[in-house]
């Protein structure tokens, strides 16, 4: 059973502001039946451009309903500029915290607010302009980057908890990992880092460099443990390798590959490389 705070329980059992505002100034809709949660947020402004009335309808679990209810209470009486500053963390804090696995509910609240404000301003829904990283749940790179930044996320698992991205077929995990690395690097240095001065490699140069790096940095260490690794193919930025010897039986081989081989190849060859294991 989830450990929900008293405030989450209260907002779930007695949700505030349920319904739809008549003739709303802004409508924000996020999520879908397939995804398992969805939120429709509607608001109306008063003459001073403050949110006079706001209502929600939510399909989802207790924390999704509570997050929606909390959001409406938080933004009532605020100007759009003030409301815009609310982060998903603010929603979670208002509720006395959410289980980490449920943080995506607070993110859904923030996204619905953003969509409703965009709708009021006559802007296009932002989703279309960005790349969809997670196809199972339709999550864009923009949403993932924002969640990483605002919540200081470090792992793919955390990104899944906060955005749902990567919670389905898991094919997008390498992409999410790359985003985490990119964003964290930028966060560490305050401003986006200047592109490293690595010259563009031709395919042959790249393969050669990968081979050299594997031979120098990786294979000796694996061999010391009774394992080995063979480069099978390179396709664009995808590096296909097969584990040999002891490594091929090791249940932690996936971790070995991801964390060790990939980081070395990214360090010495190209930051965009993704390592995949093949069995042959």
């Amino acid at each position: 059973m989830w450990e929900y705070s008293e405030k989450v329980k209260d907002h779930f059992l007695n949700p505030r502001n349920v319904g739809e505002v008549e003739n709303p100034d802004g409508i924000g809709e996020v999520g879908s039946l397939a995804c398992g949660d969805a939120l429709r947020l509607t608001f109306k402004l008063d003459e001073n451009k403050r949110i006079k009335e706001v209502k929600f309808k939510t399909f989802g679990c207790a924390s999704a309903i509570a997050s929606s209810s909390a959001l409406t209470e938080m933004i009532k009486g605020k100007t759009l500029e003030e409301a815009e500053k609310i982060t998903n963390q603010d929603i979670a804090n208002y509720l006395g915290g959410l289980p980490e696995e449920k943080m995506h509910c607070s993110v859904m609240g923030r996204e619905a607010l953003e969509a409703a404000i965009a709708h009021y301003r006559g802007q296009k829904p932002v989703k279309e302009e960005f790349e969809i990283v997670c196809k199972c749940f339709g999550v864009t790179d923009r949403e993932i980057i924002k969640a990483i930044r605002e919540n200081d996320l470090k792992t793919v698992e955390q990104v899944t908890y906060y955005t749902k991205a990567g919670g389905g077929c898991a094919k997008c995990h390498p992409k999410i990992e790359a985003l985490i690395e990119k964003v964290r690097k930028e966060m560490g240095q305050g401003a986006p880092p200047p592109k490293p001065e690595k010259k563009k490699l031709s395919n042959i140069q790249k393969i050669k460099l990968i081979e050299e790096t594997l031979g120098r940095e990786i294979i000796p260490a694996l061999k010391a443990d009774g394992g080995d690794l063979e480069l099978i193919d390179v396709e664009g930025d995808r590096v296909y390798v097969a584990l040999r010897g002891k490594c091929s039986f090791c249940p932690s081989s996936e971790v070995t590959l991801k964390q060790y081989v990939e980081s070395k190849l990214r360090e010495f060859v190209s930051e965009d490389l993704v390592v995949e294991e093949v069995r042959s």
């Binding site: 949660d37 679990c61 207790a62 389905g168």
Partner: protein, 393 residues
């Protein structure tokens, strides 16, 4: 607040008779059955009796009973113990709707280089027997199929499958964790080579299970240690729990009829009333070929965890195949394998009854469930859309 416990496929109450039978073995009768002295010997005698009770319940010989720590261990032991006995055979057949104790072994086996066939089910939850038949080949080491599904209660035609499997000379394992106590089991007249059961699903405590292994079945022990369980499972016997399970099996045999008459009638009553009182409600799985105690229903346009928590607030304990309850983001693998649409899969609730449930409890659920679903539908953005679309039609 009263508790209405209708989550018996998750776990059951320990029968008072079972607890009573166990207690002396925590206190004065603490001997080790393997000891040479009288103090251990008297315990061994009771363990033997329990083994006979279990064997009697399964229609097996006591020597074919191996006590384990749980259903998961029984399933794992059956799979690994068989694969280990046929190292040259690298193919494993099971279904897409197994319990995680079998299901999650599949990717592990694939990583080890095994080929795994997971037979699909149709919308009613029935196995595709043609697909199963076609998947069997010389290199198939084991077929493992559950007797009845834990989420929907749908029963598989185990003997028909067994005929198919045995005609090819392939070992056949059956996970009967949910079926035991609800479907009569008789290993003497069965094609099953190995069968798993779990104590806590039939009113024994958690932490005890059984693997039945037919005489003559090749089996390599999964837990290696002492000579206990005839060398098929090392480790000092969990005496009080074994004795408790023996008693539970004796009771289960007696209660089999009640499960199939009174409990079935209660379940049918609950189902009929829910369908009558709540629109847009679907029953998941074949309603006729189903465990007598299980009811999986989907309430469209609402989400299962919300329903469970509102029920829980009234003391009603059920479970859900919704994504949110498990911490995963997708609804249950069983409902997805059956192709239950998302409108319904997220709003699925499982009620699973036991002999301890009463008609008053069913009435309590029937009284409180409709307003809960209505409340959530009023909050759901899809319900009004659905009603609007209906008016247009």
């Amino acid at each position: 607040m009263k508790t209405v416990y209708v989550d018996n496929n998750a776990t059951t109450k320990v029968a008072p008779e079972v607890l009573e039978a166990m207690l002396p073995y925590f206190t004065e009768l603490y001997g080790n059955p393997s000891s040479m002295h009288f103090f251990g010997g008297q315990v061994q005698k009771k363990v033997n009796e329990a083994r006979e009770q279990v064997a009697d319940f399964l229609g097996a010989d006591p020597s074919e009973i191996v006590f384990t720590s749980c259903g998961t261990e029984s399933d794992n032991a059956a799979i690994f113990g068989t694969l280990d006995s046929y190292p040259e055979k690298r193919h494993f057949v099971t279904s897409r709707v197994e319990h995680p104790a079998v299901l999650n072994v599949c990717p592990y086996l694939e990583r080890k280089g095994y080929r795994v066939t997971q037979v699909s089910v149709d919308r009613e939850g029935h196995l595709d027997l043609d697909e199963l038949k076609e998947s069997l080949r010389d290199e198939t080491a084991l077929v493992s199929i559950m007797y009845a599904n834990n989420e929907t209660g749908v029963i598989f035609p185990i003997e028909e499958i067994g005929e198919m499997v045995k005609s090819k000379g392939i070992p056949f394992h059956v996970d009967a964790v949910q079926a035991a106590g609800k479907i009569p089991l008789n290993m003497k007249k069965s094609t099953i080579d190995m069968l798993s059961i779990s104590g806590h699903k039939l009113h024994a405590p958690k932490g005890i299970g059984v693997l039945y292994i037919r005489k003559g079945t090749k089996f390599s022990p999964y837990i290696i240690g002492g000579h206990q369980e005839r060398g098929r499972r090392g480790g000092t016997e969990n005496v009080p729990y074994i004795i408790g399970l023996g008693k539970a099996c004796e009771l289960a045999k007696k209660n089999l009829e009640e499960e199939n008459t009174r409990v079935r009638a209660l379940r049918d009553y609950l189902e009929a009333k829910i369908l009558e009182k709540i629109p847009n409600t679907l029953v998941n799985g074949d309603r006729y070929n189903r465990l007598p105690n299980t009811l999986s229903v989907s309430f469209e346009y609402v989400e299962g965890e919300s329903i469970l928590l509102l029920l829980s607030d009234l003391g009603i304990c059920a479970s859900s195949g919704s994504a949110c309850t498990s911490g995963s983001l997708e609804p249950s693998h069983v409902l997805r394998a059956m192709g239950v649409p998302f409108t319904a899969a997220h709003g699925s609730i499982r009620f699973s009854l036991s002999i301890y449930n009463t008609k008053e409890e069913m009435d309590y659920i029937i009284e409180h469930l409709p307003p809960i679903i209505q409340k959530l539908r009023d909050i759901s953005p899809f319900w009004k859309d659905y009603l609007k679309s209906k008016i247009k039609d």
